[in-house]
């Protein structure tokens, strides 16, 4: 054999051994794909927090000796990008678990992708109730479903504020769901019909005509269901139209996001909303979490997007520790199923969220909407250094609103 042929063979053997070692190392990783809305400052920071928390799990020895290899992608709250991210993560990265998304309008189509590909999906933020009503056996929701939020809001509004409510509903999936569910609950709980309903664009900027009409109609409250910045603009313009503070402003769940008080300023004062976490929570775990987010990410008071992302990582950690995984490429489907079953076995997780989070095996909203407790929060001060207070905490029956 000629020397260069020998060198070629030797090189081939070395490359083969290295390749095998690399493939073994790759197979030993638990691959987790994440798609989130990371176009806002908050979005980038809670995305980073998820990565940091996973990094800390790895530093502490990983999951039963296996590292978590996380890939974080930005879907910009756009459904086409979210679906593209999901496909890339599932079919190219071959992830064992998919986390995401933030926005309901993105999560809804991804549910179909994960159901078809049979990949477990765990949701950090999206509240639209249709997500779990699709009946996918592969989806789990950490946040509180919109149906529970609507129930809590409607109960409080009907008993404490009045029944003449006007609605401004933005076109995104979460806001549409919050608006419709609230109207349905006001009707079923209190027999109250909506006084005024306006459907607006997702990024509407001019609400003055609506506010003038609402002012003329004479209402007890205005529900503004919109993403944070749109909601903040509507709040400011409601005061500019001369609607006094005696008319209470009710926010959808995105009222929890810090841009609302930051942009709305004084107009945020008195706005209340149902959420899954209150920064005003006095439990030691919440105090520590607030301090950690403040020092690590510079967030004055973390909202429920942060707490839910954090709780999600803890639930994933519990489930991965429980799952029996081979992590061989040939066992990808079996590993995905094992992770799904392990998540379904999580019961009574008590973390930062407003209530215990429990899942079960049936692909029904009762089993897959993990958190049934909403906390009713009001802003007592707006601006960058906003302050919140807790009005109530309510746990709903699992089949409420179905």
């Amino acid at each position: 054999m000629k020397p260069h042929a020998r060198r070629l063979i030797a090189g081939g053997i070395v490359a083969g051994v290295l390749g095998a070692l690399a493939s073994t190392a790759l197979a030993a990783d638990i691959r987790v794909g994440i798609t989130m809305r990371m176009i806002s400052e908050n979005g980038q920071k809670y995305g980073q927090m998820v990565m940091d928390e996973i990094g800390m799990i790895n530093e502490a020895g990983g999951i039963n000796g296996n590292m978590i290899q996380a890939t974080l992608l930005n879907d910009e709250c756009k459904s086409d990008k979210g679906v593209a991210n999901a496909n890339k993560l599932i079919f190219q990265e071959k992830v064992h678990l998919l986390i995401g998304s933030t926005c309901s309008s993105v999560t809804l189509p991804i549910v179909d992708v994960t159901a078809k590909a049979e990949v477990p999906q765990i949701i950090p933020h999206s509240t639209n109730e249709k997500i779990t009503k699709k009946g996918s056996a592969w989806v789990f929701r950490v946040p509180v479903s919109g149906r529970y939020y609507a129930g809590v809001n409607a109960k409080y509004v009907g008993e404490n504020i009045g029944k003449r409510i006007a609605y401004i509903c933005a076109a995104d999936a979460a806001s549409q769901n919050d608006c419709e569910a609230m109207q349905a609950q006001m009707n079923s709980q209190h027999g109250a019909e909506a006084v005024y309903v306006a459907q607006v664009q997702e990024k509407e900027v001019d609400f003055r005509t609506h506010m003038q009409k609402i002012k003329s109609a004479g209402v007890d409250g205005i529900m503004i269901a919109a993403l944070a910045e749109t909601m903040a603009r509507a709040l400011v313009q409601s005061y500019e139209a001369g609607i006094g503070e005696e008319v209470r402003r009710i926010g959808s769940s995105s009222a929890s996001n810090s841009p609302v008080p930051a942009i709305a300023g004084d107009a945020a004062k008195g706005v209340f909303f149902a959420a899954a976490y209150a920064a005003a929570d006095t439990r030691p775990i919440a105090r520590l979490f607030n301090e950690m987010v403040r020092s690590r990410y510079g967030i004055h008071a973390p909202d429920h997007d942060f707490s839910q992302a954090y709780d999600l990582v803890r639930i994933v950690e519990i489930a991965l520790n429980r799952a029996s995984l081979s992590l061989e490429d040939g066992d990808l489907a079996a590993d995905r199923t094992a992770i799904r079953d392990a998540i379904a076995s999580v019961k009574g997780y008590r973390g930062l969220g407003s209530g215990e989070i429990s899942f079960c095996a049936d692909p029904t909203p009762q089993c897959r909407d993990g958190n049934r407790t909403a906390v009713l929060i009001a802003y007592s001060k707006g601006g960058e250094d906003y302050v919140t207070e807790v009005l109530a905490r309510v746990t709903m029956p699992e089949d409420f609103g179905l």
């Binding site: 176009i39 806002s40 400052e41 908050n42 076109a171 005024y196 309903v197 306006a198 459907q199 607006v200 664009q201 990024k203 900027v205 001019d206 003055r208 005509t209 609506h210 003038q212 009409k213 003329s216 109609a217 910045e229 903040a232 603009r233 400011v236 313009q237 500019e240 139209a241 001369g242 841009p259 930051a262 942009i263 709305a264 300023g265």
Partner: protein, 300 residues
């Protein structure tokens, strides 16, 4: 809802205050179109930059609001001149004079729009920024509550339009600008520095967009994505008024503003942006050159 005259007045006032802003942006678009033969698709982003510059001058540098507005106009006007000299002029030259040659200018405008939006994203991020301007308590006119910023917007807009009118009609530079807009070759033969006048036109149009951005900021907050919808409404205003007509742009802006507010109030409150484009279609069906339209010229 029962008919209520004071509400009708309020809707018209809301329409006027937003309409003048549409009109100012449309004025810039028409100015560029009539002077440079360019449909400037990046004008929404210029408007957005103007809003951010106004915010920086007002909130971060502490300038009084009118001075911040002036500073934003000057800065963005200069930025506009740079954009025209560095990017657009090469294309218009290579395309044959200052006429549109093929799709180059249109694509360049779209490209500039994306570039400007991404630069703004890198500087200011994606979050909306409040633009607080304390002008005192709102005015109560009968049952209508009008924040002073609305009135100030209308006054400043009228002043800007009057100043532009005087500039174009009463100054030698204005005369030169009009000559360039009418015919560049003859203007050149008459000894007018055509490239300089084109820079003046572009700078003026961008300064107007900056004024619109700074005026709208206190009403709607400031955000990187704010340019797109304004561009669409301003195009609607420019087309309704007659593309290339400066008075038409203003009238078109006012009509679009009033029509969309009355539509939302009396037809359906849902998705009121539709009304601007409904008006656009109606006007084009009845009078394709727009209300004050000049003869449509076929571009080279």
């Amino acid at each position: 809802m029962d008919f209520d005259f004071s509400s009708l007045l309020a809707f018209i006032m809301f329409g006027l205050t937003i309409g003048v802003v549409y009109g100012i942006v449309a004025l810039g678009i028409s100015l560029i179109y009539s002077g440079l033969d360019i449909v400037h698709f990046a004008h929404g982003e210029v408007y957005m930059f103007g809003a951010f510059f106004g915010l920086v001058f007002s909130s971060q540098m502490g300038l009084p609001y009118p001075l911040a507005l002036l500073a934003a106009m000057i800065s963005i006007g200069l930025l506009g001149i740079v954009i025209e000299r560095v990017f657009y002029r090469r294309l218009t030259r290579s395309g044959g004079g200052y006429t549109v040659a093929g799709m180059g200018m249109i694509i360049c405008g779209f490209g500039m729009s994306v570039v400007l939006q991404n630069i703004a994203f890198l500087i200011w991020g994606a979050d909306a920024e409040p633009f607080p301007v304390d002008l005192g308590p709102a005015l109560e006119v009968g049952d209508i509550t009008l924040p002073r910023s609305y009135g100030l917007t209308a006054i400043i807009a009228v002043v800007l339009m009057a100043a532009l009118h005087l500039f174009l009609k009463k100054t030698r530079t204005g005369l030169a600008v009009r000559a360039v807009a009418a015919n560049k070759d003859i203007a050149f033969l008459m000894g007018i520095n055509v490239p300089l006048m084109i820079s003046v036109i572009f700078g003026l149009a961008c300064a107007l967009a900056a004024a619109a951005g700074t005026l709208i900021g206190p009403m709607q907050s400031v955000q990187v994505e704010m340019g797109y919808l304004m561009l669409m409404k301003a195009f609607a205003a420019a087309v309704v008024g007659g593309f290339g007509s400066l008075p038409g742009a203003i009238i078109g802006g006012l009509l679009v503003g009033i029509f969309e507010n009355l539509g939302a109030a009396y037809i359906s409150p849902n998705h009121k942006d539709i009304y601007a484009f409904l008006l656009l279609i109606l006007v084009l069906m009845i009078r394709p050159s727009g209300l004050f339209g000049v003869e449509v010229r076929v571009k080279a």
